[in-house]
């Protein structure tokens, strides 16, 4: 079964995402974007990730675990671990942390 509000969000995301992906396939001129626009689009993902983490991560149950897990994931990835390993280690760390500190 589907939740109506979630489905609406998904369809909206589909339209927005697909349009962005398909426009250059329909109109070939788009591949020469002005340099500042190009650079802005390169910087957006890092900005988005920063805003996805803070402040929400601070408001979770058992803040110590909630903060320690992303820090660990960040360091592991910087040191070259692949994403699969990092996700697995993060889930395990958070789980053990929650069990030990009790929720």
């Amino acid at each position: 079964m589907l939740h109506t509000d979630w489905l609406l969000a998904v369809v909206g995301l589909l339209i927005g995402t697909y349009l962005v992906r398909v426009l250059p396939f329909w109109f070939s001129g788009i591949h020469r974007l002005p340099a500042p626009v190009h650079r802005f689009l390169e910087l957006v993902p890092a900005a988005a990730l920063g805003a996805l983490i803070v402040p929400d991560v601070l408001g979770q149950a058992v803040p110590v675990v909630a903060v320690a897990t992303p820090v660990l994931a960040f360091v592991l990835t910087l040191r070259g671990s692949n994403l699969t390993v990092v996700v697995a280690v993060s889930i395990l760390t958070a789980w053990v942390g929650l069990l030990v500190l009790g929720v």
Partner: protein
Amino acid sequence: MHSFTRGLTSALPIASGYIPVAITFGLVVRSFGLTTLDATVASLLVFAGAAQFLAIGMYGAGITAGVVVAGGAVAAGGVAAGDGATAGGLLIGGWPGAAALLLVVQIVVAGWLLNLRHLLMSSVIAHSLGTGHRWILRSTLAFGVTDEVFGVAGWRIAEGGTVKPRFLLGLELGAYSAWVGGTVIGAVSGEILPAALRTAMGLALYALFAALLAGQFRAAARQEDGRVVPLVIAAVAAATINAVLREALGWDAGAAFPLAMIGGALIAMGSEVRDAAH
């Protein structure tokens, strides 16, 4: 080897990265009281990991705030709204109220901003494919342009080749199957996992964001003209703006997020302009 098959095999490294992340997505969706079908439809239709995680994160915040229905039932007594005994039909909750609709609009706008970067990736791939392919083929290939698909295709283009439509089709189909399949696995297994593990999966979402951010830094550091500092500035500035808007000014997530994202990127650009002037 047929270029479609070559595309499929080139998707293997992408698939091994997608499956655990997609499993996490399925688990997180279920942990907010949505159904396996909710999770699957999202992956089938959107096929954009970061935007899907953003969407479920904002939706989860909406549940906490009491804006949307699904979590209301969860909070009331651990019964997922999707159990369906009372809901009966395909859709649950009827037409959403004004607050829920506002949240939907905020999710769509934030996701769209986040995915604007695909404009760059599609441009590179479309340019390499060239014109002269049928409209329906180009329109289909456009659906599968994700960061990782671009990573593989862009690498081949950088090696000096063009990308053939059939290669791209195989590559995208392999990645897409892994993404949708992983989501189903995660959503289904979410029903049988203990509560503490489900909470841990929810926390792992932030770990995933942190890992993706670290990955951005690493990728920039590896490039010849790569600049890591602007990326750090963008992330820190966006996080700061978001924290101030949300915590100090009491904005909700959907309104604060797009502003924080745009503000962070602009501040980083400003820092580059200032450095260039010195």
